[in-house]
């Protein structure tokens, strides 16, 4: 009987073969945290340990409220800064042009490596599965304990296999695929599981598209989500790796799965997640014409260069009809799309560009919503009131759909634009 990816990665970390449902303890390769580093450091100090077990294993990236939108945020940042200094922990990404959204910066800086174990005090840590990493979100108390002990316990998860074959049609994006999967699996359909993406449909996707898929893993309740690490991953990590102790791991052909789903990407249509749950899927044809007040392009889900270029392709020579906020997911991406003219195209169309960070995704600043307002967003969550007032509404969609909708002022099928 073969092994799943989770069984292999956790077995490698445990130092002995493991099977689903076994409880094991492993040492994480990296521990990611963001603005919550300050509160974690306070809990850490209560344990009675002075030094983090391995300060070089900590990666701290400020992104949730940058630059600090309130003095409470500023206090959290200050504490994080002081703690990292005090610990002599080198991997700190402060509010600077070396920063960005943690889930973008972490791989960009070479911490997301195949076969390694990453824990992060943020639920979207599962994004790093795009690099063949076993990466999962945890809470603050657990992170403090991991810093102190160098250990974390896991129940080896059962796995779900999602196989995608074929190619997406013009106007259809990886985001449309994962929103459709969300609608099928539902928000608790992969609770506690490891979600594996298989098939030529996935291997044909770019790293950026795979990150979009894995990013939504938590929205199905998954412990982690992962794609097979291939040459594209090796090319990406080359010259960036912050550790040499990694290994390409993938599921055996005869691995055992709790659930299996199959998709032909050619059948996928543009879609959205309607308010107020990520699994509230609708095909675009069912919601087209819905009036919007704001469009948002960015986040760890879809704020990468190819997302912004796709949007710029739609917006070139046009004007947006509603306020449209663009946030490149990191300052490296910001520079890239500044140099290639993408930002000019977006500015010419009437978009505004904000600094890299989480921005309005979690309603902290830079584009919160008024009562009754509707936003179409490339983010990963549309929970009630997440972007501002509790009587506001969020539709999640692909960058193409968001751009087309921004021009029309209402939800628009991107295939109409591509058909012209």
């Amino acid at each position: 009987m073969g092994k799943t990816f989770a069984e292999k990665a956790l077995g490698r970390a445990a130092g002995h073969p493991v099977n689903a449902n076994e409880v094991i303890t492993v040492e994480p390769d990296f521990c990611m945290s963001h603005d919550n580093t300050g509160p974690i450091s306070r809990t850490f100090k209560k344990i009675g340990v002075k030094k983090v077990w391995k300060p070089e294993r900590l990666v701290v990236i400020l992104d949730h409220g940058v630059p600090a939108p309130s003095s409470d945020h500023a206090v959290n940042h200050k504490e994080a800064r002081e703690f990292m200094r005090e610990q002599g922990a080198p991997h700190f990404y402060d509010v600077s042009s070396a920063g960005g959204v943690c889930h973008q910066k972490f791989p960009e800086e070479g911490y997301a490596l195949p076969g390694q174990i990453v824990i992060g005090s943020d639920s979207h840590t599962c994004t790093y599965g795009a690099f063949g990493t076993f990466a999962t979100g945890i809470g603050r108390t657990e992170m403090a304990a991991a810093w102190a002990t160098g250990n974390i316990w896991f129940k080896v998860p059962e796995s779900m296999k999602i196989t995608a074959s074929g190619k997406l049609k013009p106007g259809v994006s990886a985001k449309d695929f994962i929103l459709k999967v969300m609608g099928d699996v539902k928000s608790d359909g992969a609770d506690y599981m490891s979600v594996e993406f298989h098939g030529d449909g996935i291997s044909n996707m770019s790293i950026s598209e795979r990150m979009t898929l894995c990013n939504l893993g938590i929205e199905m309740g998954a412990k982690n989500a992962v794609c097979e690490p291939d040459q594209k991953v090796l090319d990406f990590i080359k010259g960036r790796e912050k550790s040499s102790d990694w290994e390409i791991l993938w599921a055996d052909h005869d691995a055992v799965y709790a659930k299996e789903l199959k998709y032909d990407l050619g059948d996928i249509k543009p879609g959205v997640a309607k308010p107020h749950t990520v699994d509230n899927y609708a095909e675009i044809t069912d919601v087209r014409g819905t009036k919007i007040n704001q469009a948002f392009l960015g986040t760890c889900t879809n704020g990468r260069a190819e997302d912004l270029r796709a949007a710029a392709g739609v917006l070139k020579g046009k004007r947006v009809a509603v306020r449209t906020i663009v946030i490149p997911a990191s300052w490296n991406i910001y520079r890239e799309v500044m140099r290639d003219g993408t930002l000019d195209t977006l500015l010419d169309a009437g978009c505004i560009i904000c600094n890299s960070g989480c921005g309005p995704c979690l309603g902290a600043h830079m584009g919160t919503l008024a009562p009754g307002e509707v936003c179409i967003s490339t983010a990963n969550r549309n929970f009630k009131g997440r972007m501002g007032d509790k009587e506001s509404f969020i539709y999640l969609a692909s960058p193409l759909t968001v751009a087309c909708s921004a021009v029309a002022g209402e939800i628009t099928d991107p295939r109409e634009v591509f058909a012209r």
């Binding site: 409880v23 949730h64 609770d191 979690l362 929970f383």
Partner: protein, 172 residues
């Protein structure tokens, strides 16, 4: 038989996400004692929760309670409000770990989602809960429910009062 806790039920649906329990906009707050005032502010019909909740009341929910973010605020805001335990059919993985790590019991109760939908357990009902056996009696209508037992490691962490005290005792 363990001690029987008695309290009122506050009943919630399936898929109660972390923004409904504790909204984003209060994330910069780091003092758990100040968190209960924001509990369920965004949950339609439960805007009164923070004002009216009493020490000993129970949160009763369907499937996938606490889905979404890893924020521990969503555990603190209920624990600090004096809710002795969460009774849910299932809850999200991260929420569950956060609860255990804070010594806060979540009782998994089969059939609770349907019971809520069909009115077999309602807001304001008086509940008698035995955390050791997992038995829940709705004293208002006589219905009973049964929760699952937790694993040994989880029980040890909870008995110690959470992950931090657990680690401290193990370091001695």
């Amino acid at each position: 038989m363990g001690e029987t806790l008695k309290g009122r039920a506050w009943v919630f649906s399936d898929d109660v996400d972390t923004d409904l329990i504790y909204h984003n906009k209060y994330l910069a707050e780091t003092d758990p004692k100040k968190m209960p005032q924001y509990s369920f502010e965004y949950y339609p019909g439960k805007e009164n929760f923070a004002r009216e909740v009493k020490q000993g009341d129970f949160v009763v929910a369907g499937k996938n309670f606490g889905c979404g973010s890893s924020r521990e605020h969503a555990v603190y805001c209920l624990k600090e409000a004096g809710i002795p335990a969460i009774l849910a059919e299932t809850c999200s993985r991260i929420y569950y770990r956060n609860a255990i790590n804070n010594g806060y019991p979540v009782l998994f109760v089969k059939g609770l989602s349907d019971a809520i939908k069909s009115g077999k357990i309602e807001d304001g009902d008086t509940l008698e809960v035995d955390l050791a056996t997992g038995t829940i009696t709705d004293a208002t209508n006589g219905n009973t429910f049964h929760g699952d037992a937790v694993s040994e490691l989880e029980r040890d962490i909870m008995t110690a009062g959470g992950l931090i005290p657990y680690l401290k005792t193990r370091r001695k």
